[in-house]
């Protein structure tokens, strides 16, 4: 990985809904070791918000497929954690008008976790989700 980060940290996996078989057994979502190490070293707030990302993967409310126009495949899992880090060592309630989106590539590697403004028609979906993603794979009923 760029920026002098070598892959010294191990990958970390957690169980999440299988986007190819949402009603089947859960599968591994992987936090790549070199990515988490980069966050730890150079983006502490992102590092600490991996806690919220893991929550989203373990308790997803929506799962979308086809998240990029120029890259094949990929998934977006969304949910609303109770709190997150807004600055280093500063925890706040997660904003009511936002949803946390965790993006995974086709190999189920997490590559991004970020807040998105929530859609007006469904507060668990990112705004404009109908046009941004190819489709909704799964929706929580709880």
């Amino acid at each position: 990985m760029s920026g002098g980060v070598t892959n010294l940290a191990d990958d970390f996996s957690c169980k999440t809904i299988d986007p190819n078989n949402p009603h089947g057994p859960r599968v591994d979502a992987i936090f790549p070791g070199d990515l988490t190490l980069r966050y730890w070293k150079y983006s502490p707030v992102r590092y600490w918000n991996l806690i919220a990302a893991k929550f989203v993967l373990e308790h997803p409310q929506r799962v979308f497929y086809g998240v990029r126009e120029y890259n094949e495949g990929g998934w977006c899992y969304t949910a609303r954690p109770a709190e997150w880090y807004v600055k280093e060592n500063v925890v706040a309630a997660f904003p009511k008008n936002m949803v946390l989106a965790v993006y995974l590539n086709p190999n189920m590697r997490v590559y991004l976790c970020r807040a998105e403004f929530a859609a007006k028609d469904d507060p668990m979906c990112p705004v404009d989700w109908q046009n941004r993603y190819r489709g909704l794979v799964w929706k929580s009923t709880s």
Binding site: A9, L35, Y42, S43, E88, N105, R114
Partner: protein, 136 residues
């Protein structure tokens, strides 16, 4: 807040670094000026502005589809070559990537304003080694 699930697995001292970097898992370039939580302000398929959740100011951006941009425009025009020791190092200009991304979409006022704002905020001479741009 709960204990981090990676506690004890990280080495080194954390120190925020404001520099663009290539994320091979997402085939994207990320740049963040300050270490704050942000909300995505999606401009188009290739550019997303990061706005601080504290005061909505732009604090970074993401350029997506880097491989597609390189395929479309080729290395020429994106690469800045420099001498380093005995060999030549090829680096990709972040501003050139932004310009290429802009050329890919419709020439609307909204896009022009967004791309101009991002270029104003980004370091003009930042480059990323071409060898780093390998998707995982």
């Amino acid at each position: 807040m709960e204990k981090h699930f990676l506690e004890g697995k990280m080495a080194g001292k954390p120190e925020f670094r404001a520099e663009p970097w290539y994320n091979p898992y997402g085939d994207c370039i990320e740049y963040q000026l300050v270490d704050e939580a942000f909300v995505a302000d999606r401009v188009d398929e290739l550019l997303t502005i990061y706005r601080s959740v504290l005061d909505n100011r732009p604090i970074g951006f993401q350029i997506k589809g880097v491989q597609a941009i390189i395929r479309k425009f080729g290395w020429e025009g994106l690469v800045v070559a420099s001498e380093a020791g005995a060999g030549q190092v090829r680096s990709v200009s972040v501003v050139a990537l932004l310009l290429a991304a802009y050329e890919t979409g419709p020439m609307t006022l909204g896009r022009r304003r967004a791309y101009a704002a991002v270029m104003d905020s980004s370091p003009k001479h930042h480059t990323i080694p071409a060898d780093d741009l390998v998707p995982a």
